[in-house]
Symmetry: C2
Subunit: 178 residues, 2 copies
DNA sequence: TTAAACATGTAAGCTGTTACATGATTTA
DNA sequence: TAAATCATGTAACAGCTTACATGTTTAA
């Protein structure tokens, strides 16, 4: 499937970037639906290069420090667009260790159970607030053909997802206290 | 972290089971938040056995066919309960290849984009309906100290999650058609 | 009698995480 | 001058998927 390959190609299709810049994107911007560590990114870039899907120019920052700025090739763009057009088979529901715990929660007393739910709630509230703040950068829907439109769509998805999780946690707390 | 270990211990804590039965649980009952193939389960059971957390009795079905029925040991129960009481640090948002695609969707024409969203919608509607049907088995909230209470909670979570995804997909379709 | 379900295992390969390893540049 | 950030890589290991491998029992 090689999703990381296409995540990288997609970003490079927007503009040339270094491995380090890609790494930052994955750990901030895209983190709501994709991410990767540098230890995965650098080898993948190497692979994409041998496959002829990207090229790079070496730049010098300061006196010595070399950085490789990667550019997507024509072949890379073709490959990326082909992937983008494919229909996605619904992914399996992602594994969720907290729900696994809740599944077995009848072995916990009510107090502990509620405490755990409240703890999760707190963490999700934080995440939701951060997402809402990011969303303030979009006072209106960005144009459909701009990079920012995709960003906006997934951000909206992340926000409603967090709202749903919070509603579920409240529902659970309600059942536990009944 | 070894979540599979605790998923297995948790199920064996309910009742003794064979690897095959565990496998079925993971691919049907629990699939909304955890799953594993038999190729992962058998080796894990072996490991749990060497760690002294489970034991097994060999049963014969028919004339020859041997099956191992695993039982959790006292040590296994202790280990499981310890895990169950631990507070869960919020997991990273799971990777989502469809959202990755939507992130880059400005390179698709409106028609293709809407078609993809509709396709996802169809698949989620199917899943939602299946979940709702399962939920009919719970005409009322099961008692808090029964196994079925945990099943019910995560089932409710799965249903509201699917509803949220459908709402998001509709929102996206709306933005695309604007 | 044959297909589906029962039943258990191993092997190869891919994905991803954590840790190891090194060094330059910028900012406080 | 020290800390943070920039910058690139490799290694070991954990987790998971797909395929390989074999054979039994049950129900249509």
């Amino acid at each position: 499937m090689r999703a990381l390959k296409y995540a990288i190609l997609g970003l490079l299709n927007r503009r040339p970037m270094t491995g380090y810049e890609l790494s930052k994107e994955f750990n901030f911007e895209l983190a709501e639906f994709w991410y990767a560590n540098h230890s995965q990114i650098y080898p993948e870039l190497k692979k994409l290069h041998t496959e002829g899907l990207v090229t790079y120019d070496v730049e010098i920052s300061g006196d010595i420090l070399e950085t490789k700025r990667y550019t997507i090739t024509e072949q890379g763009q073709k490959d990326f667009m082909q992937w983008l057009h494919k229909d996605e088979k619904l992914q399996r529901t992602p594994k969720n260790p907290f729900r696994l715990r809740m599944y077995f929660s009848n072995y916990l007393d009510t107090e502990t159970r509620v405490q755990m739910l409240e703890n999760q709630k707190m963490q999700h509230v934080k995440r939701l607030n951060a997402l809402k703040k990011t969303c303030e950068q979009y006072p209106e829907t960005p144009p459909k053909d701009s990079d920012r439109f995709g960003d906006f769509l997934v951000l909206r998805g992340a926000i409603t997802r967090e709202e749903q999780v919070l509603a579920w946690l409240d529902e659970c707390i309600g059942y536990c206290k009944e």
